[in-house]
């Protein structure tokens, strides 16, 4: 693989990985905001509505970052992966373009109503707008997962000359690969949102500020977080594992660091893959579990990497192995964290005063983002050496007309730009979170004078 292609891979991985920090937050929070807004309409307690407005502010900042870092994604297929785009654009771009037509227009319109239209349209329309924003963000996720699923498991195509033509639209849209991946991705996003909500609530309770809201956030965060964490493992994680075992056995072997085909293969808890010697260093293995998880039989044979010629194996086995183990390891911890927190909540609401648990919730905030990122690394590195599994090698998908110097130039540019954006995002979100939900409430005009915040949702500019 030439340097230009390697740099294009790094640039795509970096820009899409960075971008995905924000959609997972917005997809998760959009769902939680709908819950808060619904609770308000049912219980008629103003606290829930103020909470919804507060999270809408955090949502809005994340949304802006998601939009601006998302723009390059739509274009990078063409800029850096021209041969892939010309080869498969007839199919892959259908779902990408549908995202624009069906999700982005919807989101941008209803987000305006949601952020600016509460007073004008009243509570029912405002609730409806929050639902539409949620559906918009999740529809966006569905089209992207559909596009990725097709690259993992191409269907509905015919090969015409040196290009692919779409032969069955519905097969592409209902690719069996989509459902498990979509469920897994969305519950992952909800976990991120729930941990952020619970974590900020825990901070409020620990610092004894905005305590009322701290309770709401922690309660909603841990309940939703527990449910989503369980779905993440079963059924969605399990379904994904089965699918990979069936269609991409080399990927599964690399996940698990299984260098040799084994009967009754064990699952690796710790260890460092050594591709030079073809073994795991310092292994800690639970026997037979991998066979059971994959085939539901303790003595089943699991194919190892040695069954595939080196050219058919993923090309970064070490990184793939660690990505997978970080994802699964963190995901496994999320269940007991949220489980214990839920138990403490059920036990006469002791959660609100149990400081060690609140500390854990607060410090756990960033880990779902890491797990989700590691998850994407897992699925994408595991697809290598293919850009379209079984059809087009990654090395033949890049833009042949780009010199390494030009790609490095833009990679450095993106890195610099994203560093600045990241700093801005952290500073603004932390400032917002520290101000708390009540800031700006009941003093709308004053806030408007000295630096108002999107999402304050108080009236509009509509006149005449």
């Amino acid at each position: 693989m030439d340097l230009s292609t390697i740099l294009s891979r790094v640039q795509f991985a970096f820009t899409v990985g960075y971008h995905y920090i924000f959609p997972q937050i917005t997809m998760g929070l959009a769902f939680l905001i709908v819950l808060l807004k619904t609770l308000y309409l049912i219980k008629k307690e103003e606290r829930y509505n103020i909470s919804a407005r507060f999270w809408a502010k955090i949502f809005a900042t994340s949304f802006v970052l998601g939009v601006v870092t998302g723009i390059p994604m739509e274009f990078q297929f063409g800029t850096n992966w021209a041969r892939f785009s010309a080869y498969a654009g007839d199919i892959i771009a259908q779902t990408l373009a549908m995202e624009g037509a069906f999700a982005f227009f919807l989101e941008s319109a209803f987000l305006g109503v949601f952020l600016f239209g509460e007073k004008v349209f009243g509570q029912k329309v405002h609730w409806f707008a929050s639902v539409m924003v949620w559906l918009g963000t999740w529809a966006s996720g569905a089209f992207i997962v559909a596009s990725n699923a097709w690259m993992q498991h191409p269907v509905g195509y015919t090969i015409v000359g040196n290009r692919l033509h779409i032969s069955n639209y519905w097969e592409v849209l209902f690719n069996p690969w989509i459902f498990p991946q979509y469920l897994h991705t969305m519950s992952g996003a909800v976990i991120t949102g729930a941990f952020i909500m619970a974590g900020l609530g825990a901070y409020y309770l620990l610092s004894k500020s905005h305590v009322d809201y701290g309770r709401i956030f922690v309660t909603l965060g841990v309940i939703v977080g527990l449910i989503a964490s369980i779905i993440q493992l079963y059924p969605s994680g399990d379904l994904e594992g089965q699918q990979v075992a069936k269609y991409q056995p080399a990927k599964l072997a690399a996940f698990e660091g299984l260098f040799h085909t084994e009967q009754g293969a064990g699952i690796v808890i710790l260890g460092q893959p050594n591709t030079a010697t073809g073994q795991l260093d310092n292994p800690l293995i639970v026997p037979k579990v991998l066979s059971f998880l994959t085939y539901r039989r303790w003595e089943a044979v699991v194919t190892g990497l040695d069954a595939f010629p080196p050219s058919q194996r993923p090309d970064s086995i070490e990184l793939l192995y660690y990505s997978y183990h970080i994802m699964v390891g963190l995901g496994t911890f999320f269940i007991p964290i949220m489980g214990v927190a839920c138990l403490l909540w059920l036990w006469k609401r002791r959660l609100f005063t149990t400081r060690w648990m609140l500390w854990i919730l607060m410090l756990a905030m960033p880990f779902p983002v890491i797990a989700n990122t590691a998850g994407w690394f897992t699925t994408e590195l595991g697809r290598q050496p293919w850009i379209i599994y079984g059809l087009l090698p990654t090395a033949q998908g890049s833009s042949a007309n780009l010199s390494a110097g030009n790609v490095l130039f833009t990679l450095i540019g993106f890195a610099g730009m994203y560093l600045l954006l990241g700093l801005l995002y952290v500073v603004l979100s932390v400032t917002e979170a520290l101000k708390g939900p009540e800031s700006g409430e009941g003093e709308e005009t004053e806030v408007a004078e000295e630096g108002g915040l999107p999402g304050l949702a108080t009236g509009t500019v509509a006149e005449g």
Partner: protein
């Protein structure tokens, strides 16, 4: 079918220029039109609820171009690699400058983002013009439909190895900046009153004759640089309707600008821009990306997707675009009228 998609993609790009064009224009003029912090906020309020939706048109157009003309998408995006990445950075930075400006109550912070908003908007307008000019002038495509253009070479549009920037593309870039200045000032005049409105109207009246001059010069240059355009109008004279629309629009802008009819001036500006873009598209057809060597040009025939893909695409595209238009009518109705300092909500 490919012809239909040529028209539809051109339509989407035109929608993008008309819509995002006015918020780019607002960015170009805001340092001059708006002097105080409050006035600058009014400008941001005038575009705040809609700029993001406007930019969706370029994303949607990019996606649509990708599946309808995959070969064109692949070839042009990789060939225009450097300017495209620069445009992406500018789009990001400018979007952030709109949203973050009023987040920190500090005059230094606000001034910084005001400057960025101006710079991003102006450079984008120039780059968009230059991009269109590159497509009109043609690029050094080889027999495989591949090219790579450096940012500049010898600044000569007749060169065998042209760069992104030459005197012709820079000329069109300046024309685009002047046009969007006009477009944005008409929009801001419409959305504001008082001194802000008066300044926007003055900018509109100044940018109008400048645009006329640049339009005349650009048109002459275009016929010189790309003979295909003249040939197209000669072969299909009915296409004269497009430059006619542009001409009427351009007259309308001046007519209404000097009678203080801001909305009518804005719609005239829309007609002018749409007419100019349609004329360019009509002139290029059936080429989608002319080559320096005409034998290597990408056309609607050799760059389009499969017939089946184009057909199913058309079905969902029509549903999607009807929905999009409904959202847009709804949003613009909601935020119709002038923005005022007193408005309960600011956010900007």
């Amino acid at each position: 079918m490919a012809t239909l998609w040529f028209i539809l993609v051109a339509f989407m790009l035109t929608m993008y220029v008309l819509l995002d064009g006015f918020d780019l224009g607002a960015g170009i003029i805001h340092l001059i039109a708006a002097r105080s912090d409050q006035e600058r906020r009014l400008i941001l309020r005038a575009i705040g609820p809609v700029w993001d939706g406007n930019e969706v048109w370029i994303i949607a157009a990019g996606g649509t171009l990708f599946f309808t003309f995959p070969v064109l998408y692949a070839s042009s995006f990789s060939g225009f690699y450097l300017p495209l990445c620069i445009v992406l950075w500018l789009l990001m930075w400018r979007g952030v400058s709109i949203e973050l400006r009023s987040r920190v109550p500090s005059p230094v912070w606000a001034s910084f983002w005001d400057g960025m908003f101006f710079l991003g908007s102006t450079l984008l307008a120039i780059f968009y013009g230059a991009a269109l000019a590159n497509v009109i002038r043609g690029v050094p495509l080889d027999a495989h439909g591949v090219f790579f253009e450096p940012l500049w070479t010898d600044f000569n549009p007749f060169s065998k190895t042209p760069g992104i920037l030459d005197w012709y593309t820079i000329l069109i870039g300046l024309m685009a900046a002047s046009t969007l200045t006009m477009h944005g000032s008409a929009y801001i005049a419409r959305k504001t009153d008082g001194t802000l409105n008066a300044r926007a109207r003055r900018i509109l009246r100044i940018s109008w004759p400048v645009t006329i001059v640049l339009t005349i010069v650009s048109t002459i240059a275009t016929f010189a640089v790309q003979p295909q355009i003249y040939a197209s109008f000669n072969a299909r004279p009915w296409g004269a309707i497009f430059p006619l629309i542009a001409f009427v629009g351009l007259l309308g802008i001046g007519h209404f600008a000097f009678r203080n009819r801001d909305l009518a001036a804005f719609f005239s500006s829309c007609a002018f821009i749409a007419g100019m873009l349609a004329s360019s598209a009509f002139g290029l057809y059936p080429d989608v990306l002319p080559a320096v060597d005409p034998a290597h040009s990408l056309t609607i025939y050799n760059a389009s997707g499969s017939p089946y893909g184009l057909t199913v695409g058309l079905i969902w595209w029509m549903i999607g675009i009807v929905l999009a238009v409904i959202y847009f009518v709804f949003t613009y109705r909601l935020f119709w009228g002038k923005v005022t300092a007193k408005g309960e909500y600011s956010g900007y």
